[in-house]
Amino acid sequence: MEELVVVPQTESRTVPGESFEPAIVAFVCNWCTYTAADLAGTARMVQSPNVRLVRMMCTGMVDPKYVIKALLSGADAVLVSGCHPGDCHYINGNYKARRRIKLLKEILPRFGIDERRLKLTWVGASEGNEFAATVNSFVAEIKELGPIDTRRLPLL
């Protein structure tokens, strides 16, 4: 088995700007955003290839530790995306996700992790274009921010 290596092997990637290719981990819900991602793919919409999708049954099951682990392991950003409010397949999982992201956005910036590296969006199953646009704008934003510190720190 091979681990997904998020630390790029080329030296130039530590310099913010055009050569930096961020690694983004996205936790997407099976019922809405994953379906939208699938639609964006089959419709051949142009998307930045920097996002690694993790398909969850619901954003309500994205435990804070998944986000923390990704960011500590060198992911430059984390996207959590699920159904629009009121549309959750499990009634209210996305509302719970919103509170957890709120919590993480209080904790992580205290340790120097830019709040913009964590994003929560609502993308419905039919919104393939919205998914592609979200990915593209998020990748552009993280390129602007540069690589996350945890990539080069000999973290404990």
Partner: protein, 380 residues
């Protein structure tokens, strides 16, 4: 009868007066047992004991500045799921009361089955420092001096634990009955204050002499809270500055050996099995090698910073600042400083205060349809 009464102290010994109160409570038909800190052999301080025989109360000492464990968990065990045989009268510190309130919200214990009595708390020494405080002299006298000083200054060269020195809740308004020490002469008399209808009922039955509030306790309490809040804010600033980036946080936690004692000692970390002790963290050899290759090296054991940040996410909204995490740390990691500092932010974010009110739901157990629009970029 009013809600304030006087506990007479004889021979300058406030502990004996509180023991007498315990005896009276045990004599009440409604009370099945008393949970009270009891002196350990030697100079080791106190541990909670569940007492049903009044004779066993001779070593009970709820006023000793010893805080070996957070008693909220013990009371949770005694009240969870209801009792048939009456109430447990529990002597808890204010932070233990607040931890117990949090545990009750999480269905780990029940207020219904407890009569909570909380003495004003000038603070306590860490487990490491308590024997120095106790010394070889007269423990009772040292304790009375400590109560009179309201925990200020140093005693035999040691000061109260940092968590206590920055505690902004040295008295409990959540307990059924409070024992007033602040602003009193503890070698002459203490106050008993009822905060709940249950407390008032017991106070009536105890038939203590009623007194009029002279405001002395409130004034002394206000001064102590002001001092400790100022110390707390200094501690927040120091800790925030030291952990403002990942490098700082790594340095802050560098002495951690992943023993997870902080989690074991934490009263509100109530999971039966912590995820960090499960197979999830039983990594495969190839994973370690792979991680080492990514950065060229890997600190073993792994996941130290990960553990602490995750615990912050899991329990900081319930943190009552009792400081048992720091007390339990074998390597002097200032865990309490980190957790209180972050907990102040997370609790503020949800307009929540751990242990304040039994009717306020833990922030991550509820939600509203429209809230925190900023999290999703203004979209609701």
């Amino acid at each position: 009868m009013g809600t304030i009464a006087r506990i007479e102290v004889k021979d300058g010994n406030p502990v004996a007066a509180v023991q007498e109160l315990c005896v009276q409570l045990l004599g009440d038909d409604e009370i099945a047992a008393v949970l009270v800190p009891r002196r350990l052999p030697g100079t080791n301080g106190t541990m909670p004991a569940l007492i049903t025989d009044p004779a066993e109360l001779r070593d009970a000492d709820p006023l000793a500045p010893s805080f070996r464990i957070n008693g909220a968990r013990m009371l949770a065990r005694l009240t969870r799921g209801g009792t048939d045989g009456g109430l447990v009268a529990a002597f808890l510190r204010p932070c233990e009361v607040r931890a117990f309130v949090e545990l009750c919200k999480l269905n780990q214990g029940s207020m219904e089955n407890a009569l909570i009595i909380s003495a004003d708390c000038p603070g306590a020494f860490s487990n490491a420092d308590y024997p120095t405080f106790a010394g070889n002299g007269d423990a009772a006298e040292a304790e009375t001096d400590f109560l009179r000083a309201e925990g200020r200054g140093n005693f035999n060269g040691v000061e109260i634990a940092r968590a206590c020195a920055v505690c902004d809740h040295p008295s409990s308004a959540e307990a059924d009955l409070s024992i007033g020490i602040f602003g009193q002469s503890p070698d002459q008399g203490l106050l008993l204050l009822a905060n709940t209808p249950r407390g008032e009922g017991f106070m009536t039955r105890l038939q203590l002499p009623e007194v009029v509030d002279d405001g002395g306790r409130s004034k002394a309490l206000g001064e102590l809270v002001a001092e400790r809040s100022a110390a707390r804010d200094r501690m927040f600033e120091e800790t925030s500055a030291a952990t403002s980036d990942m490098n700082g946080l790594s340095t802050f936690l560098a002495a951690c050996v992943n023993c997870y004692n902080c989690r074991m000692a934490c009263p509100v970390c109530y999971c039966k099995e912590c995820v960090f002790l499960t197979d999830v963290f039983d990594h495969k050899p190839w994973q370690y090698i792979s991680w080492a290759r990514q950065r060229g090296s890997l600190k073993m054991p792994t996941d130290t910073v990960f553990f602490h940040i995750t615990r912050l996410a899991h329990m900081s909204t319930a943190c009552v600042g009792c400081g048992q995490c720091s007390n339990a740390c074998p390597n002097g990691v200032p865990v309490m400083e980190l957790f209180r500092t972050i907990a102040a932010s997370t609790q503020r974010a949800f307009e929540y205060e751990a242990g304040r009110n039994l009717n306020e739901s833990p922030p991550l157990s509820v939600f509203r349809e429209r809230e925190f629009a900023e999290v999703t970029g203004g979209l609701e």
